[in-house]
């Protein structure tokens, strides 16, 4: 062995993946399949919601004094008088077109009610998620960088205190405080409603702040972890600039780990949105759902619940696929697994 290098030998070992094709692509396809299954289950759940209720939903809506005839009429309108399976068939074919009948309350079609609000919902949730990502990862990494190796213990204390505090304040309290300070006192933003364009800022912040606190905590721990890894030492041995060490070596690895650990944070934004929309009278799907639940407006409840649930599922899938796009290993592993 030595001087004569084996000329034929150098073959790059192939990826340890049994089948051909990009693992990322395979993972995405499987994830899409899983997504459809979950959406289907959610659809069954919304179908069953009105039908497993103790008592007669039509009677619930119309009250004890309504005539039996009126109740029977409503049952027919809700499609509750048909055989069970044909009810489901009917419901599904209509749900596919987002057709859930007419609202009891506004007498408009549920489709138009949903259409009027989906844009607002996406705007609010989208902005909130952007804030959560940027601030959560940014603050967490900053705190991690400052407190690595036990430096700046006071920064660590302040960080832990404030993330703990903001992470445990109920969403509607946060929303109300923001409204009190920035809308009522400072008058920078409107107190409620959807206009002007800046009206989205306060509700988005109210949703984002508690989640930023949670994500920043996770990211800090992950950053400390990544900074201790050998590949960061390699990067240091190459004397890369601090900026590129953080951008190329720390950030991608922190993000994948943090996103994997905190995948549910993004779906939870939908939950906070439901509450925060009530505070700011933000005309989104969450507000519609809450109002309709209280009004026993079942067709709208079905439609709004299904749409929100689909949003949750889609957000999760996007996070998953995003993580696997950034972290090739997870895609390869999970592509095989799922």
């Amino acid at each position: 062995m030595s001087a004569e290098a084996p000329p034929a030998a150098p073959v790059v070992q192939p990826a340890r993946v049994p089948r051909a094709g990009s693992p990322f692509l395979r993972f995405s396809v499987r994830r899409l399949g899983a997504l459809l299954v979950v959406v289907w289950i959610v659809e069954i759940a919304t179908f069953l919601m009105v039908r497993v209720m103790p008592g007669d939903p039509a009677r619930q809506v119309l009250g004890p004094r309504a005539s039996n005839q009126a109740v029977a009429g409503l049952r027919h309108q809700l499609g509750l008088d048909a055989p069970f399976l044909s009810q489901y068939w009917n419901y599904t074919t209509h749900a596919l077109r987002l057709d859930f009948g007419d609202s009891f309350y506004s007498h408009l079609s549920v489709t138009s009610e949903l259409q009027a609000r989906i844009g607002n919902e996406l705007k609010l949730v989208g902005l909130a998620i952007a804030i959560i990502l940027v601030c959560g990862i940014g603050l967490g990494m900053l705190a991690g960088a400052l407190t690595a190796n036990g430096r700046h213990p006071h920064v660590e204390r302040v960080f832990v205190f404030f993330t703990g505090l903001f992470g445990s304040v109920p969403g509607y309290v946060m929303a109300t405080l923001l409204a009190l300070v920035f809308a009522v006192t400072l008058k920078w933003f409107p107190v409620a409603g959807n206009t002007p364009a800046s009206a989205v800022v306060l509700p988005a912040l109210a949703i984002a702040i508690p989640q930023v606190a949670l994500l920043a905590r996770i990211v800090r721990v992950e950053t400390l972890n990544v900074l201790g890894q050998n590949y960061v030492r390699s990067a240091r041995s190459k004397r890369l600039s601090t900026f590129s060490i953080y951008r190329r070596y720390v950030l991608p690895n922190v993000s994948t780990a943090a996103l994997t650990l905190s995948g549910t944070i993004f779906a939870q934004t939908i939950g906070s949105a439901i509450i925060v929309e009530s505070v700011f009278a933000w005309n989104g799907l969450g507000l519609l759902l809450t109002q309709s639940v209280l009004r026993l407006d079942y067709p709208v409840v079905e439609g709004a619940a299904l749409l929100l649930a689909v949003m949750v599922v889609v957000i999760n899938a996007v996070v998953d696929v995003g993580v696997s796009a950034v972290d090739p290993r997870s895609a390869a592993q999970r592509g095989l697994e799922i």
Binding site: G150, Y172, V184, S234, S237, K238, Y249, N253, A267, V313
Partner: protein, 660 residues
């Protein structure tokens, strides 16, 4: 939240004085006492609250509605003129009961579901896990609105809804715990020794799962209080005439623009309760987990204490930097350090992990540094590369990279000097490469920074370097990720990465230790090639004299932080002078692959703890030749001429007399 304590814990060293260590850990945890006190106060309030303040809480008087703080109503009154403080205090019981019930539902359902899934066959378990993950992602509020539609508004609906909403997360935790505990050795051995199933579950599995589950339960309790108050706020939770903190907070919040103080009491109650429960949980975690009893915060202390050993302060006649670096490699040295110390600051004063090391590396020379674990060889290597990790500190009389002392440069200049002059490769190639970046990007980033190459030029050069380390299809290799290569390939990638800097010195710290024997040979071949072709100097760190023998021209042997012997390879291997080197040689013989494991002297005993201050020679206790002086006085490294140096009272004479 408690799950994020991912740091490895040190083994407890000092026995606790006084109280039981678990109790001590609890009370010294930040917030432990505070959390416990508040929670106890809440329990008392829950019991007496409705009895003492119930009547006042219900007394309406519209004439005093919306009043601010007064002596009769310290926190003011609400829209019906009821005393807010009294209502908040009286609401404690219902609030806590609702929270507890919801948490109990989550835990019961989640535990049943999780343990069932854990008991399933692997395939079904995988399916169950993913189903749980899907449900976990649904926000509890959405599930709650869903269930409230079915069950109807009210406290019962809210509790059931929140309870079910958090159950999947608890199920996953239970499943994780059950799976990991049941795969532990002690469970397997209990099973093997015929412990019955009920007893196995009751005595072996459950006790070891209880800690994380109880902690999570506390967190769910706090979370449930907040979630239920959210439902109250939406109007689908607790309904009048019942009231809890959530309803009180809601009425307060709705009037906040006119009477801001009305929301203060219930908001504070909810927040304080939540924080107290979290504190209690963290303190409880500490006291339930014996591994956390002694180490409190930060990795720093831990890492230091992991080096262990009480610093015994003796009069230290430390053999510091006495011998000048072995003779001639005079001024042509590409790398030179004199009197290098690496110290770790500690409570008992700084301890020296490397003491008085002097080295000089000639151009094109391969220098091997050998020694046992803890001998300071890796720290020496890291100091040469300027990479000693915080909180360790390096002190040296002289450091020169090609005649330039990096300490005299600005940070930026020093970075450039190190980045182009020295490249370093490490023991574990897999973990030394960024897992989320392609190999190509990692190959070129250093060169692009320090040598201002264009992307294209850098990639072209990277291809050449890959060919030098015998990776043929460079283009393809650069598009791959590190995990797609075998261990030997990865180490060759690391070498190529080092070569990209066009360094004068390559420092390799145990480059072959993690590899198979055949792959080791390949990597050493590549190093030898590189040395011959580029005229590069190499410092090879290894615990294995055999590996060093294959590559190095000169060998340095380290023991307890100092150099004990140095010499040309031929001489040192043929005629080792220091008893420690002789012992090392015997160890090689012992491990020789011919299967004849003849009992050789080897080295008996263990080395002293690193950093420990000793009066005499650190090897004295293990040395067959030791005499009185060895235990009193530390031998200095004596120059014997011809590049031979040795630190031993017993050995040095032989060679110099022979030479004379």
């Amino acid at each position: 939240m408690a799950a994020t304590t991912a740091t490895p814990a040190a083994t407890p060293t000092v026995p606790a004085r006084g109280r039981h260590p678990a109790a001590r850990a609890f009370f010294t945890a930040p917030g432990g006492i505070v959390g416990l006190t508040i929670v106890l106060a809440l329990v008392v309030l829950a019991i007496i609250g409705p009895i003492v303040w119930g009547p006042a809480a219900h007394k309406t008087d519209l004439s005093i509605a919306y009043q601010s703080s007064s002596s009769a109503h310290p926190l003011g009154t609400d829209s019906l003129g009821r005393d807010i403080l009294a209502r908040t205090l009286a609401a404690t019981r219902l609030t806590l009961l609702l929270g507890l019930s919801a948490a109990a539902i989550s835990m019961a359902l989640g535990f049943a579901l999780g343990t069932t899934i854990a008991a399933l066959a692997p395939r079904a378990r995988g399916f169950g896990r993913r189903a749980i993950e899907v449900f976990m992602s649904f926000p509890p509020i959405l599930l709650a609105l869903f269930l409230v539609t079915i069950i109807g508004t009210g406290a019962t609906g809210a509790v059931i809804a929140i309870g079910i909403g958090a159950a999947p997360a608890f199920a996953r935790l239970s499943e994780n715990c059950a799976t990991s505990v049941s795969s532990k050795e002690f469970v397997a051995s209990a099973r093997a020794s015929g412990v019955g199933r009920p007893r196995l579950i009751g005595r072996y599995l459950l006790p070891n799962m209880s800690e994380p589950l109880v902690l999570a339960g506390l967190a769910y309790f706090a979370g449930a209080i907040i979630d239920i108050s959210g439902l109250d706020f939406l109007g689908v939770g607790v309904q009048t005439p019942q009231f809890d903190w959530g309803t009180e907070l809601t009425t307060g919040v709705q009037a906040i623009y006119t009477t801001p103080w009305a929301a203060v009491a219930p908001a504070a109650a909810i927040t304080i309760t939540g924080i107290a429960i979290v504190y209690l949980g963290e303190a409880a975690a500490r006291s339930l987990n014996p591994r956390l009893w002694h180490s409190s915060k930060g990795k720093r202390r831990r890492r230091v204490s992991a080096d262990d050993g009480a610093a015994r302060s003796a009069a230290p006649p430390t053999g510091d930097g006495s011998a000048a670096p072995g003779d001639e490699p005079g001024d042509d040295a590409v790398l030179r350090v004199d009197g290098l110390d690496v110290v770790v600051p500690g409570p008992g004063g700084p301890r020296k992990l490397v003491r008085g090391v002097s080295l000089a590396l000639r151009p094109g020379e391969a220098l091997g540094i050998v020694g046992e674990t803890g001998s300071g060889k890796t720290l020496t290597a890291l100091s040469l590369a300027g990479l000693v990790p915080h909180p360790l500190e390096t002190h040296a009389e002289r450091i020169e990279l090609g005649g330039v002392d990096p300490r005299s440069l600005t940070q930026r200049q020093a970075a450039r000097l190190y980045g182009t002059y020295i490249a370093m490769i490490f023991q574990d190639p897999m973990s030394s490469m960024n897992p989320s970046a392609r190999v190509g990007a990692q190959l070129v980033d250093g060169a692009r920074r320090h040598r201002s190459l264009s992307r294209k030029a850098a990639r072209a050069e990277a291809k050449e370097r890959l060919a030098e380390v015998r990776i043929g299809d460079g283009e393809r290799a650069m598009k791959r990720y590190p995990y797609q290569f075998s261990g030997g390939m990865q180490q060759r990638l690391m070498i190529a990465m080092g070569l990209m800097a066009r360094p004068r010195v390559l420092i390799a710290d145990e480059p072959t230790t993690a590899l198979d024997v055949t792959v080791q040979a390949q990597v050493l071949d590549v190093l030898r090639d590189v040395k011959a072709r580029e005229g590069m100097s190499i410092v090879l760190i290894s615990h294995n004299l055999g590996v060093v023998n294959q590559l190095c021209d000169r060998i340095v042997v380290m023991y307890h932080g100092s150099i004990v012997e140095e010499g040309p390879r031929e001489r040192l291997l043929r005629n080792p002078l220091h008893p420690y080197t002789q012992g090392l040689m015997n160890s090689i013989l012992e491990l020789s692959p011919d299967g004849s494991r003849t009992e050789v002297a080897g080295i008996r005993g263990r080395p002293p703890a690193s950093g420990e201050e000793l009066a005499g020679c650190p090897f004295a206790d293990r040395c067959p030749l030791a005499f009185d002086r060895c235990r009193r006085e530390r031998p200095e490294l004596v120059d014997l001429g011809d590049g031979d140096r040795v630190a031993c009272f017993a050995a040095g004479g032989g060679l110099s007399e022979a030479a004379a």
